[in-house]
């Protein structure tokens, strides 16, 4: 299929763009979106792979991997958003401080 090569190359570049969002930005929402773009890029590549499988129908294994992966990435995103929101309420910050100071908080044992 003609769609295979351009979309596979797109997947590779998309992963890099997502990685830029994840390590090049400081805002946590942007970093999370970058991670989601990375995941989408991998899924796009897997969908591309599924087109070349069994002649008559698509290769079902990558498709099943994509379905599983989508649900997992939604779960992680939901959890991450909760953490980000809680962090903002507690510290008023939308990013992680790059401080070298050691954490001096207490853990929950006491």
């Amino acid at each position: 299929m003609t769609a295979v090569v351009p979309l596979a190359a797109t997947a590779g570049l998309l992963f890099a763009i997502g990685l830029y969002g994840m390590i090049g930005r400081t805002g946590l929402i942007h970093r999370l979106l970058g991670a989601n773009i990375m995941a989408s890029a991998i899924f796009l590549f897997l969908v591309v792979l599924s087109t070349r499988g069994i002649e008559a129908s698509a290769d079902p294994v990558p498709q099943a991997m994509v379905l599983t992966g989508i649900v997992i990435s939604v779960c992680i995103t939901a959890f991450a958003l909760g953490l980000i929101r809680y962090l903002r309420v507690m510290t008023g910050e939308d990013e992680l401080r790059r401080s070298t100071r050691d954490a001096d908080g207490q853990s929950a044992d006491d």
Binding site: I29, H30, A58, V66, I70, T77, V89
Partner: protein, 325 residues
């Protein structure tokens, strides 16, 4: 195939790249989130183009829809949450130019290498194992993706249900915090039009979800798509105030949350009775057992997604239903 299609594919790829770049490079959170939802929809078009319409549906519903709703909710919460003192001075110094160039170099290099490798690998054709083809085509369940998800790689699906449950329980830890504003309905009560839309959409969504669930055994569809639709219905109910948040999780909700995982894990153990292996289906009743597990998973997915969006420990139907105009 129409000769124009390579041009279309290249344009689609370029569009995806441009959207992704806009998402990560945009300044505001809200802009980035909206662009990300558009990105998800264009991605769904690309998947449909690649001959995977059911994946495209799942991407549009679960990834663009539910993730988008969660992200928008988080953006909105940024305004609603109480007191966020601006830290004195910038939290992190703007990255030095050396660091910025390092990031550009890493991403550029990795992107080039990946694009070349992926394009090259996608052209190759490894043999699909003949055993796999036989197992999929001779299975009691007709839809190949459902065969993989429920039987051949059912263990992954079981663990995926565990991830879903853990995401909620992880959030549940944070929910005790009193200052977190829940998801408030719109400021001055519920708009009547949205409410009537929900009333109208309820039967349509229910029927569609049941159809997707039922058809999953032979055609694209299944527990995840159906559960996501029901979850979307829950989100709409929550937005229009038909569902109220609770600060605890009632037993029935707890049961609903763990139902999918519990039924699947229980089945895995029970199957040791009729076979030597866990997770193997009884020869006589494969389709029936698969349908039962899918039903349990659909309920759990719907409940969990609604709770994840609601951002509360529990929910209940509102005592006094909102009246129409």
């Amino acid at each position: 195939m129409i000769p124009l299609s390579p041009v279309f594919d290249v344009l689609l790829g370029l569009g995806l790249l441009w959207l992704a770049w806009r998402v990560v490079a945009s300044r505001g959170r809200f802009t980035a989130v909206v662009l990300f939802m558009v990105f998800g929809l264009v991605m769904a078009i690309a998947w449909a183009r690649l001959g995977a319409p059911d994946l495209a549906l799942a991407e549009a519903a679960i990834s663009a829809g539910i993730t988008g709703a969660l992200l928008l909710n988080a953006c909105k919460a940024a305004y609603a949450d109480p007191g966020h003192p601006q830290p004195g001075g910038p939290a992190t110094p703007p990255p030095s130019s050396a660091r910025r160039w390092l990031v550009y170099a890493i991403c550029g290099g990795l992107g080039t290498a990946l694009a070349a490798t992926m394009a090259w690998l996608a052209l190759g054709r490894p043999d699909v194992a003949p055993e796999l083809r036989d197992a999929v085509s001779g299975h009691a369940v007709d839809n190949p993706v459902t065969v993989i998800l429920l039987d051949l790689r059912g263990y992954d699906t079981l663990l995926e249900m565990a991830v879903l449950l853990m995401a909620f329980l992880g959030l549940r830890i944070l929910m005790g915090h009193r200052d977190l504003a829940g998801l408030h309905p719109l400021p001055e009560g519920v708009p009547s039009m949205a409410d009537s839309l929900v009333a109208m959409a309820t039967p349509i969504l229910l029927i569609t979800a049941l159809y997707l669930f039922w058809t999953g055994t032979e055609a694209p569809g299944g527990a995840f798509q159906a559960g996501a639709l029901l979850g979307a219905l829950g989100v709409m109910y929550r937005l229009t105030g038909r569902i109220e948040p609770l600060d605890h999780t009632p037993a029935a909700l707890r049961l609903g949350l763990i139902l999918g995982l519990g039924v699947f894990a229980g089945f895995a153990c029970l199957s040791l009775i009729w076979s030597d292996w866990p997770l193997s289906y009884p020869a006589m009743a494969t389709a029936g057992v698969a349908l039962t597990i899918e039903l349990a998973m659909m309920i759990s997915i719907a409940v969990t997604l609604t709770l994840l969006f609601s951002g509360s420990a529990g929910i209940r139907l509102a005592r006094a239903p909102v009246q129409g105009p």
